[in-house]
Symmetry: C2
Subunit: 339 residues, 2 copies
């Protein structure tokens, strides 16, 4: 592998790693019924988290997740210099109201469902650069809030095509630090907006797969690595449809990731039992799968190195209704363990 | 002043400055009729910028502004390692479709009308940290798109209270570089979400003033400076109402900024002639005022050091209609000249 900070076209390789001191995940009831239920820190049966609306519920969930991550790292909010966070709602209201009481300087981010990767990337750059000893990276999504934002009122009970995904009600938070830990971020690859002209907002896997393929291809070039150099290459929420497109696009470039690829959206629900169709989605999907299952596997040494590549579908109801395409973006983070 | 990178609670002081190689501003017809008309690079009479919708028009405006900033710096898009950008629309669609063709790795940001400060902060951190030789920081807003997003269809011709502001149709872009230039970023102060419980989305000055006061107070503490150490302390779009509150809040802390304070929202329109009530607002307001008027004054040496503090009102129609308050956030950037 090349040495140095800036490598290739789109990547950074950190000469000093940035450590993940703790991670936390909180999910709603449906996620708590799914195959990953034993990996989450907390499953809340009330999807409004005791609040009056889904949006306030999402804020409460995010706040509790950040607090839990702080508790695990034996830190107070005042010990944290920056918070990098975002969600799917217009103008990031889940984040705004969720983090307000923490009084931590905030960089609000929007990368659609790639936000967890964007937050970890900027958070790691910030710690590595000596700008902070400790930062938090967090992301959240909520099924009720997202359906209201992007699709139809839940009360309509509208039918969903088999290509559609189910927005995860969940939030993940990570404490990044210069202090030594077992699990660490050693590099990042930052994505561009990639548009293949897909216009179907109920087939987001197809919208995002080209961005994932572009990012993974560039990452392997920049780091001069092969897929086998990773125990897992983890996409966020491509689902069944997007996974197929991703593998085909990379195969066309002579790259076979099939042996190491995992998609968080295909892990979080039992698509037959839980009627979730193509899989899970949302910022929370990759955030809670990384904070739970993957961090557990890294901490135990079961896996040694992963490329985490959450992808985002860049649309709003305005852009969609005005006939625009749904471009995608992906952000890659290399996470390794010393165990 | 204290030495070192992390200073005080919320600030960074850059030991090596980050240079602003070029800046560009493009505005719509109303801004082109205002007092700052001679400071903008381009005034476009067609507010849809030749496109079919305001949103697409905003994207086109942003794209042209970034291209212009690149041209002025004699750079191509491929020379730029990262783009830090955002707008006011839900899910950042103006940015997404505006920057797509540039194919520059993107960090999408949402800080409401503070986004220009957020983008310059992260951009400067990135260059200073050696993560990039050159980055772009950009922000945009559009009156038509913002009214549709946040308020009423323009066709209603609804009445606006005197406390309301007029969203600027404009975009600003800055090329930040490690290469020597006359104007430079020497420090930043990053804001927290500040909520004083104001609920009136047509009085955004009142919503944002506490965040500006909090940021300016903390900045002066962190840097051990007084208001007089700046030729100008520049807020983004507090307008007439917000300015009064800001000055009062700081006066209560024993700080008098009245001699050096300037609000971009109060400069960009002639509120009597142009019927804009409390002033201009939107990400574009502070972005084009900095890229034009203020950069001109810095380049000529007329002013030597400013604190640029754009503020954002953190609301969406969902949060507002669900009865939530409108919190604010502000991000501070110290810009100096060697001329």
């Amino acid at each position: 592998m090349k040495k140095g900070l800036q490598i290739g076209k789109q990547s950074l390789s950190f000469d000093k790693p940035v450590y993940i001191m703790s991670s936390a995940s909180i999910v709603g009831p449906k996620e708590g019924d799914g195959p990953l239920k034993d990996t989450f820190d907390k499953i809340v049966e009330d999807a409004t988290f005791g609040k009056d609306s889904w949006e306030e519920g999402e804020s409460e969930m995010l706040k509790e997740t950040v607090s839990l991550a702080l508790m695990k790292a034996k830190l107070k909010a005042a010990d944290v210099r920056y918070l990098f966070a975002g969600d799917l709602l217009g103008q990031l209201i889940a984040t705004t109201f969720g983090v307000m009481d923490l009084e931590i300087p905030l960089f609000g981010l929007y990368g659609a469902c790639s936000t967890m990767g964007e937050a970890l990337s900027l958070g790691a750059m910030t710690v590595h650069g000596g700008y902070a000893d400790t930062v938090i990276a967090a992301a959240s999504s909520h099924f009720g809030g997202a359906e209201k934002q992007f699709r139809f009122p839940l009360e309509y009970g509208n039918q969903r095509p088999m290509s559609s995904t189910w927005t995860v009600t969940g939030s993940g938070a990570f404490i990044l630090s210069k202090e030594y830990g077992d699990v660490m971020i050693t590099g990042i690859t930052t994505g561009k907006v990639v548009d293949y002209g897909v216009k179907d907002s109920l087939n987001m896997g197809a919208c995002m797969a080209p961005a994932a393929a572009d990012l993974i291809y560039q990452h392997l070039q920049d780091f001069e690595r092969k897929p086998e150099d990773y125990d897992k290459i983890v996409t966020g929420d491509l689902g069944i449809v997007g996974k197929e497109i991703l593998c085909k696009l990379l195969n066309d470039q002579g790259i076979d990731i099939s042996k190491v690829h995992m998609d968080c959206g295909m892990e979080i629900y039992d698509d037959v039992e839980q009627d979730t169709h193509a899989g899970g989605s949302g910022c929370g999907c990759s955030a809670v799968t990384l904070a739970g299952k993957l961090m557990n596997e890294l901490r135990s040494g079961e896996i040694k190195r992963i490329l985490f590549v959450p992808t985002g579908a860049l649309l709003s109801t305005v852009s969609y209704n005005e006939g625009q395409t749904v471009p995608g973006i992906a952000h890659g983070v290399v996470i390794e363990t010393r165990v």
